[in-house]
């Protein structure tokens, strides 16, 4: 009877510990996330939240189990099981280590628009195991952290301004200096192109059908795509108005004497 009573008391204690542990984990982890997000960044905040939550839950469960059985034997068994699980979960461990490296390296944070290898999107979450993106065409993409760490990463939102590079070919008969003048005026007169760094235009190479020029104009990052499209339209219009031809690829074929007559007869 006494033993049953003791077991009931232990069970009640265990339940209280488990419930209290859960409540503490649920409330402490978001609070910690809030503080770390404010002080460091959202990325580390989210990770700290997950780590704290699972650590507190594990601690509460172990303490609750400790009410019934001796934990020394359990921990020894857990050690052996840990080795077995560790061997079976090498990929996960690799992901966790990569996640930690990404955390230190910080090539991006939550909310950044990035390109990871072949994929592009906005970072919506990063855990110890994986990084989640919302692709620009609104798909949910989960990339394991070891893949992210081993890929080429481009962060489109790291800096506030970006350079629009626009390649334009003009016909060989045109005066290159005049075309450069027209394009630089076009870029300088565009209201949304930054005054400084100043827009630049260079002649870059002799192509098959054109002399190639490149226009470089700096714009606010948030307006990059819209302004790139606008600058392309304005450049075409400016060159047309100045009577400068933008050629399409063409080939001149020279035929030997009498060849045209032969072709006509055929």
């Amino acid at each position: 009877m006494v033993q049953l009573e003791a077991q009931v008391v232990a069970l009640v204690k265990a339940v209280i510990i488990a419930v209290a542990g859960y409540i503490i984990a649920r409330s402490a982890s978001p609070a910690l996330e809030k503080i770390i997000s404010r002080e460091i960044n959202a990325h580390i905040g989210r990770l700290a939240r997950n780590l704290t939550f699972y650590a507190l839950i594990a601690l509460a469960l172990l303490t609750a189990i400790g009410q019934f059985i001796d934990l020394t034997a359990l921990l020894a068994a857990a050690g052996i099981a840990g080795i077995a699980i560790g061997l079976a979960s090498q990929r996960s461990v690799s992901n966790i280590i990569s996640g930690l490296f990404l955390l230190i390296d910080q090539p991006f944070t939550i909310g950044d628009a990035v390109s990871v290898g072949e994929d592009e999107g906005t970072v919506i979450d990063m855990s110890l195991l994986s990084t989640r993106l919302r692709t620009f065409d609104n798909k949910y993409l989960r990339i394991p952290n070891d893949t992210v760490a081993g890929s080429k990463i481009i962060n489109y939102t790291k800096f506030d301004i970006r350079r629009v590079d626009m390649e334009i070919g003009i016909a060989y008969k045109e005066e290159v200096g005049k075309a450069i003048e027209v394009l630089i005026e076009m870029a300088k007169n565009h209201n949304e192109v930054l005054v400084e760094p100043e827009p630049q235009v260079f002649a870059t190479k002799f192509s098959e059908s054109s002399v190639d020029l490149v226009v470089r104009a700096w714009v606010p990052r948030t307006e990059f795509f819209r302004l790139r499209s606008e600058l392309i339209m304005k450049a075409k219009k400016a060159l047309e108005e100045a009577g400068i031809e933008i050629p399409f690829p063409h080939r001149t074929i020279y035929l030997g004497s009498g060849e045209i007559e032969k072709l006509k007869k055929q």
Partner: protein, 229 residues
């Protein structure tokens, strides 16, 4: 203009015109060429235009450097473009319907990877204060060194600026620009304005208390220039 129920008014700001109508005690309808929307109001409703400083710092870039002889003080006025705002005032609160600044162009101050977005101002020097949709900015350029120095750029922080309604136009507080090197200026923001403003009435107070003096360096975009980027 104070709007009563059923009354309407037309207002033009920049290149846009707005039709504002008080449709009921609690609603005002605002419309322009592109769209229309409703705004909740309470009590007395007033539609008015106000001047404000741009939220971005003002980046003054002289087309030709302004040379300052050794140990000299140059007192001039510069035109400071202001933002014109169409506002609806109701229940002690302001709702900005539209804001406009003439020839607003943005310019980057700093390196391409680290800097601040500013609004570009091509300095227009006035020997005497003017009256228009701008503020007269009393600037004192000083060169305390023994060398001839020139100034090409300086940046004005809007939160340290004060706007006054003078007797013959709008004025800001005095700004002291100490040229300390070819690409280095020390800015000091005064509190008062010039005597030429006459009896000046305060319109906009400083948003922040400035430091005693602010040193600004204009570093050329080294890596970009080196590689021709």
């Amino acid at each position: 203009m104070h709007l009563k129920v059923g009354q309407s008014t037309s207002e033009e700001i920049g290149d846009k015109s707005f039709e504002i109508e008080r449709v009921s005690s609690y609603l005002v309808k605002i419309a322009n060429e592109e769209k229309q929307w409703l705004s909740g109001v309470a009590g007395d409703v007033e539609v008015t235009t106000k001047y404000a400083f741009n939220e971005l710092p003002y980046f003054f870039r002289f087309p030709n450097p302004l040379a300052a002889a050794p140990k000299t003080l140059l007192k001039i006025f510069l035109k400071l473009p202001l933002v014109e705002k169409l506002v609806l005032i109701s229940g002690g609160k302001e709702l900005t319907i539209h804001s406009h600044m003439e020839n607003e162009r943005k310019i980057w101050h700093g390196e391409v990877y680290k800097g601040v977005m500013c609004v570009h101002v091509e300095p227009e020097i006035l020997t005497e204060p003017g009256n228009g949709e701008f503020a007269n900015l009393p600037v004192r350029f000083s060169n305390k060194t023994d060398d001839v120095l020139s100034i090409k750029k300086f940046v004005l922080e809007p939160e340290y600026m004060i706007l006054y309604q003078g007797e013959n136009g709008l004025y800001t507080n005095k700004v002291y620009v100490d040229i300390v090197g070819e690409n280095e200026v020390k800015m000091t923001y005064g509190r008062g304005t010039t005597d030429k403003a006459g009896k000046a009435e305060l319109l906009i107070e400083q948003k922040a208390k400035p430091q005693k003096s602010i040193l600004t360096k204009f570093t050329p975009m080294m890596h970009a220039k080196y590689f021709g980027f």
